[in-house]
Amino acid sequence: MRWVLATALLALFVLAWQGVASLESVDDLLVASPVETAEALYDDFDLLSDAALVTLSEVLLGLAVAVPLGVLLAVGMHLVRPLRDAAYPLLVGSQAIPIVVLAPIFVLAFDYGMGPKIAIVALICFLPITVNLLDGLRSVPPELLKLMRSLGASRLRSLRSVELPAALPYLFSGLKIAATVSVIGAVFGEWAGADEGLGRLVLLANNQLETPRVYAGTVLLTLMAVGLFLAVVAAERLAVPWNRKEELA
């Protein structure tokens, strides 16, 4: 039922889009209709898919850096109180820097290649992972840690048997956010200077008034983010099989 409703709403949106784009007063150069977008997807498929692969690798490599980094940082900050106190403000600060401004700085400092894009994706992805995981690690009721201590558990044992499993649902919340913002990060990275990728393709097509191609690229970027999100949801189903609604104890 949920799927039916969501599909119906999406269909309604596409219809409205088609309606607006077909209006006499709307210039075809400025707004592409769903049909034109689909045509562009079909005609420029090779061009778009090559670019999409580049962007997808930037996103995946960025996540490959962000996930272990974010997890390690969260665990470290959880175990070492002074580290948490010292790093938390910096962590939040790192996110307050507008990524739009940061992207050209990265590209300037490094080069036009993939490196800066991966760095930007990693930078905006690791924070939601770290903050959510840290919250999760701290979500364990103090009585449970007391019980573990009375059972003779070492700090590491409590972390492994109680805190990390309890934090898994939180980690996945962070990963869901990371999955969606990662694509945005890659696009900003490419806009700041790149010679390949979907973000760059969209920017070029925009400058050339190839409006249907801009829309097609945007659709692909959206699908990429949605796909990553769904992959995280599927991984969560596997890794957190117990009832997510059930509070710990």
Partner: protein, 245 residues
Amino acid sequence: MTEPLSLSNVTRRYRDVTALAGVELGMRAGEVLAVVGPSGCGKSTLLELVAGLQEPDEGVVSVLGVNGAAERRASCAYMPQRDLLLPWRDALGNAALALECQGVGRAEARRRAAPLFERFGLAEFEHVRPAQLSGGMRQRVAFLRTLLPGRPVLLLDEPFGALDSITRTSMQEWLAETLAQEPRTVLLVTHDVEEAVYLADRVAVLSPRPGRVVAEVAVDLPRPRTATDPAFVELRRETQEALRA
């Protein structure tokens, strides 16, 4: 023979609040001692002190003749008010956790926990996750987790406080049977006088905060006990009066 448990002149303060003031208690091996008192009288503090989770500000807490907190932790099995079962582990895994905390491997811990499930009427529930268990069953699993490390002193903090009264009665019967099979020295904290008289050999009554022992009632009744037995009723009344005084 050293007393399994003794508290002498134990005082515990939290900032401006004195939770316990000069508590004196001793226990014989194999005895079940119930501590009752009004809420906020420091009953849970008392248990955590014995369990080695806190240190007294004054006085001496000793378990099996030793005073150190680490030694107390190693001799006591502490069961908190809430069952605190891990939702991602099945019942057997939750009980086995007690052994894993002592360095036993996961598979071996499960293997060693299994016989207890058989003996205490949980045989079909080993692979059930806590969410699928009733409150009473969860508490039984939590109790088996407490028994499993084989520590001589059991510390039970209102173990049935969260259960409805029908379940509580059947749990009290189950606990009495279990203790008959697995005798331990048991310190039971409760606010339920009937539970105290039903389960204990002796009931210590704590005063309102700051808590100290104001009365002790010996319960020399044969087991199994019935709450309607006149002698039982009389002891319950006696305890309640000490509580009100």
